[in-house]
C-alpha cells in the first residue's frame, strides 16, 4: 500500500510518500503505526506522541482501531490547522 505523510510527520520521516508492505499480522491503523515506528529514528520521532498523529485511509478520517483491510492509501498527519 501507499503511505503518505504531511506537515511535521513528513518532515520527521523524511519522505512525503512511499510504498510499504506490512506483514499480514498488521491489521489495524494502530498496529501499522507500531510497525512503522520500529522502522527507524525518523519514524520513531514522527510517532513518538501517538495522540498527536491522525490517520486517513483512502482519503477518509479513521481511528487507530480501524482495520486497514484492502485500503490502497494510508495517510498520517498532525491535527489539522486549516481555515
Amino acid at each position: 500500500m501507499k503511505a503518505v505523510y504531511f506537515a511535521w510527520v513528513r518532515e520527521r520521516i523524511g519522505v512525503a510518500e512511499e510504498e510499504i508492505t506490512p506483514p499480514a499480522s498488521v491489521q489495524t491503523v494502530e498496529q501499522l503505526v507500531d510497525w512503522l515506528a520500529a522502522r527507524g529514528e525518523g519514524y520513531a520521532a514522527a510517532f513518538a506522541n501517538r495522540k498527536s498523529v491522525r490517520a486517513a485511509l483512502d482519503k477518509m478520517h479513521v481511528t487507530t482501531q480501524t482495520p486497514i483491510a484492502s485500503a490502497r492509501e494510508i495517510a498520517f498527519f498532525p491535527p489539522m490547522t486549516g481555515g
Binding site: V4, F6, A7, W8, A56, K59, M60, H61, A75, F77, P78, P79, M80, T81, G82, G83
Partner: protein, 160 residues
C-alpha cells in the same frame, strides 16, 4: 438538495464574483453570509504562512462537511474555497458563502462550515519568519475542537 461548490486552489478568490454566482437572477434568496478568513500577523514577525494540504482528500473532506451542512439547513447555495501555498499577512485564506431564505440558517451554516473545516479539512500551516529563521508548524487549538463539538448538541434548525 443543491450541490455545493468546493475549490482548493493556490490562487486568490473574488468574494463578490462568488457571491454573484450564487445569487444572480434569483428571487428566492433572502440572506447571504460570506465568511473570509485572512492571514494574521500582529507581532510583525511573520513573512508568510505556508499552507500544506492533502490533495484529493482536502476537496473530498470539504465536500463531506458541505453535504452535512446541506442536510442540516435548507440552503439555496453553498460555496467553499480554500487556498494552499504561500500566503502573506493580510491575504485571504478561506471563503465560505451560505445563501438561504432566512438569515438564521445562513449564519448557522457558514459558522458550522468554518468550525468543521478547522478540525477536519487536511490543511496544515507552517510559519515563515521575517528574520528567515526556521518557523514552526501552527498548533491545533483545543478551542477549535470545542467549537466543532458544540454542533453535536444543537438542534438542526435554530429555534428562531
Amino acid at each position: 438538495m443543491i450541490a455545493p461548490t468546493v475549490r482548493v486552489q493556490a490562487e486568490d478568490f473574488d468574494v463578490v464574483a462568488e457571491e454573484t454566482r450564487l445569487t444572480q437572477g434569483r428571487r428566492d434568496i433572502g440572506a447571504v453570509v460570506a465568511f473570509t478568513g485572512l492571514c494574521r500577523d500582529e507581532a510583525g514577525t511573520l513573512h508568510a504562512l505556508e499552507l500544506e494540504h492533502y490533495p484529493g482528500m482536502a476537496e473530498a473532506e470539504i465536500v463531506r462537511v458541505a453535504e452535512a451542512a446541506l442536510e442540516r439547513w435548507p440552503l439555496m447555495g453553498l460555496t467553499v474555497i480554500h487556498r494552499y501555498g504561500l500566503i502573506r499577512p493580510g491575504a485571504r485564506i478561506v471563503l465560505v458563502i451560505a445563501a438561504a431564505r432566512h438569515r438564521a440558517e445562513a449564519f448557522a451554516a457558514a459558522e458550522f462550515m468554518m468550525d468543521y473545516l478547522k478540525t477536519r479539512a487536511p490543511f496544515w500551516k507552517k510559519t515563515h519568519r521575517v528574520d528567515g529563521a526556521q518557523g514552526d508548524w501552527v498548533e491545533a487549538k483545543a478551542s477549535d475542537d470545542a467549537a466543532t463539538a458544540r454542533w453535536d448538541a444543537k438542534p438542526s434548525s435554530p429555534a428562531r
